[in-house]
Subunit: 252 residues, 2 copies
């Protein structure tokens, strides 16, 4: 199989391929965190690196897929991938349902929108009254602008964010349709808010969150959503962060 | 209530007291991690600091308890405290039992021996064939020497270890009797082995472990116990570590 992703999807595909004894080729940005590159490589995947700012991963992946006759596992714009990512929402609903708890609001980080769509569908099936809120990095708010304008728009090229996993050019068509149907709302978070959330997760939850994985928590802490007195689910979706980056965040 | 402890026990007592609206006074070493002092203080406890190398916390606590008529919650040498700490073992047994899994070996960090005793009793009740192995820091192996000599012995004063939570002068009498009855074995770990375990927990488990909390994992990774091909429980018992210390471990 072949996958293209800035990180966690690549790792998931590499590890799933290894579990099924299938060779995996992963197209990854050369500036992806070493932690992500090494974890994918450790699962036995072949890594093909590219320059995020000058090359198109879709073009590289398409050429490789044709040349080697490899089936592609896209990172978000695919109903099966979205459903797979949505199993996180099924687990949340099962756990909270078993404890008799309801959910008022769910904060989910998003880039292409696959995870937010899948989890959103699962949670809305659990309780249609749940507010689904998509969290994007400042300057990468294409989902917000796409949903409000009614058509998919792009992010400006070259905008940086500490959230390396949330930097796709534009959201997917399937996630666009899904998040519209879910009436998802959107908020954005700054790098400083994300760092604060990473520190809180370290100090209080004892969890290692990568910047992208802390974006939803950042939104809750920074008052970007109405959390007071409500049962809030925060999806903390990744912990693949380089030690030096994490150390710098702790000492900030 | 009054408690004396180098950290996690103090935090537990402070938080339990707050939950029951009871004032708490905590005698803590002045060189305890700021993360531990601040967490105990944040729960509303009054902190009384002392010098670990020149003062006796037992004497300070006894004087304060008498002066203020406070019931003392000892850190380890008390059957109820040991039983409370042993609930971690009950949870482990319940979780693994529900999944139909057996345990061959349990690695548990120890200082006064209360946690190891309580967890050991719970696990042996689950399956008497489980090997209970107590993990101590190098140079603080009083439990090893006490169990092998048949009488409680002390640690040499002034020996340092990165495991700030595992540095009591000597084990408790109740834990001594309990660990003997359990036929517990003992191993020791070095600071370097503990740092390696903290990094692995960060990279792979995405968990923040304090040095003491990583000691049992360190023993497993360093080959101090026979883990190959066996179902091993590693107790990761604390994550109260100062950000600067954690950052230094990551960058080591």
């Amino acid at each position: 199989v072949l996958a293209f992703s800035s990180g966690n999807h690549a790792i998931a595909v590499a590890q799933a391929a290894a579990a099924f004894h299938v060779p995996a080729t992963i197209v990854m940005p050369a500036d992806a965190p070493a932690a992500k590159r090494e974890t994918a490589a450790a699962a036995g995947a072949e890594l093909v690196l590219y320059d995020r700012l000058t090359e198109s991963r879709e073009a590289i992946a398409a050429a490789l897929a044709q040349e080697r006759s490899l089936p592609v596992v896209p990172p978000f714009d695919d109903p099966f991938v979205m459903a797979g990512q949505g199993t996180a929402g099924l687990e949340i609903a099962a756990d909270l349902g078993a404890r008799g708890e309801r959910i008022d609001l769910a904060l989910i980080c998003a880039s292409g929108g696959g995870l937010a769509s899948g989890v959103g569908v699962a949670l809305k099936a659990f309780d249609p009254a749940i507010d689904v809120v998509v969290v994007e990095p400042d300057g990468h708010d294409d989902i917000a602008r796409s949903l409000s304008s009614g058509a998919i728009v792009r992010n400006a090229p070259g905008v940086r964010s500490i959230c390396d996993g949330l930097l796709v050019e534009q959201m997917g068509a399937h996630p666009f349709a899904t998040l519209r149907a879910l009436e998802a709302r959107t908020v954005t978070v700054t790098d400083a808010e994300v760092r604060r959330a990473m520190r809180l997760a370290f100090e209080t939850l004892k969890l290692v969150l990568e910047p992208s994985g802390a974006a939803a928590l950042a939104a809750a802490l920074a008052g970007k959503a109405d959390v007071a007195g409500r049962n809030v689910v925060v999806l903390a979706s990744g912990g693949n962060v380089d030690p030096a980056v994490f150390a710098a965040v702790l000492q900030h």
